[in-house]
Amino acid sequence: MQDMCPGDIAGNYTEHRLRYFDGSQRTVLVSETETPYPEGRLIVSRTDLEGVLTHVNQSFVDMAGYTEQELIGAPHSILRHPDMPKAAFADLWQTVTAGKPWQGYVKNLRKDGGYYWVLATVIPNVREGRVVSYTSVRRKPSRGKVEEHAALYRKLRREES
């Protein structure tokens, strides 16, 4: 994945180097601007078995800040925020590859460096008895749950380093 560009970022930002599960690296630029969850909407995506985006709905595009063309074919980790602990995604992948649904609170990174919180549910898509893809649907989390998870994830991040 390409590094994020300062030209895309709104306002002040900090720079972080992310190392992904596949060993690749990317520089991400992060601001403190939160985008509120769009009322009444669901943010929907689908990936192949490797986590590469194959479908996104309009709310996904609006919230991520990338165009649909930039998203389709990109790994889902294009949205990974440096505040998210590795353990959350390890749990996600372990659960869905075992054929089970996963649910969790996720802080996502926008193209403009800002973030948004979601309550995400990921399920394996079974066709004729085989898992062929994954679908994720996000809904609006409560403020209390967001704060609880922000604190938990800070703790987990500290323990990582």
Binding site: G40, N57, P101, T135, P141, S142
Partner: protein
């Protein structure tokens, strides 16, 4: 053999004559007898599905999974102008202005329509409300839901968006939408059972072109449907996957 055709119990009562007209048209086009059954609750409909008594179903999205994944029904078509969207309402005089103003103990008035129930519960999650910390009044129809709100028997009501939009201005002006879903991919579907497998393509062709004849258009008008759009198997599978994620809480 007489085919058995069932309509999901959440049809608007004013469409009953329309469904009979549609059934008459379908019998003529297919040249076979079809018995139309209007169930008045979801339990009876599901019992009929489980007992393999049905050949054609106009199904609520909630029942699509049972029909497609367990009973091997195949999707035929959807009404291209109708979507299942939900609104959470309060009485205009209620103190809550936002979903987040709602507190544990909130009393919910709702019908037994399962997808509207599911979307309503999801839209109150941001206030940390769930089945365990809310109370429930189940109503026979949306007019009764509105009445519970206006009489302060309930704090919020779950409505099919279309049913809310169709209320009289007099009632609508006394209600306040707190949030309205914009999901856009959840809808009722017309589905055919295994007995119709060989005639599936014919049936789909018939339905999706009926708006091109004057007679067919008249039948659609009686149901307030603009036209039937074809539904592929994967369209329904996608909607069912989405519904599956929403049922996890």
């Amino acid at each position: 053999m007489t085919l058995q055709f069932a309509i999901s119990p959440d049809f608007p009562p004013e469409h009953i004559p329309g469904w009979y007209i549609f059934n008459t048209w379908l019998q003529r086009e297919l040249d076979c007898a079809i018995h139309l059954q209007l169930y008045d609750n979801f339990g009876d409909l599901r019992e009929a599905i489980h007992a393999d008594r049905l050949d054609l179903v106009y199904a609520n999205p909630f029942d699509a999974s049972l029909l497609v994944r367990e009973k091997h029904f195949m999707p035929l078509a959807r009404a291209d102008n109708l979507q299942d969207e939900a609104v959470v309402l309060t009485a205009d005089h209620h103190r809550a202005r936002h979903i987040e103003d709602l507190r544990p103990g909130t009393v919910i008035a709702a019908t037994d329509v399962p997808d509207i129930e599911m979307m309503g519960m999801i839209m109150i999650e941001p206030a940390d409300l769930n089945r365990n910390n809310t109370q429930r009044i189940t109503c026979d129809n949306y007019v009764m839901v509105a009445k519970q709100l206006l009489n302060d028997e309930a704090d919020i009501g779950f409505f099919l968006a279309e049913a809310f939009d169709n209320l009289s201005d007099l009632v609508k002006n006394q209600l306040r939408p707190l949030v309205r879903s914009q999901i856009q991919v959840i809808h009722h579907s017309l589905m055919a059972g295994p007995a119709l497998q060989e005639r599936h393509a014919t049936l789909q062709q018939l339905l999706t072109t009926m708006d091109t004849s004057e007679k067919g258009q008249g039948v659609l008008d009686a149901l307030k449907i603009h036209r039937w759009s074809p539904l592929a198997q994967e369209d329904s599978e996608f909607m069912i996957d989405l519904m599956d994620t929403l049922m996890i809480s």
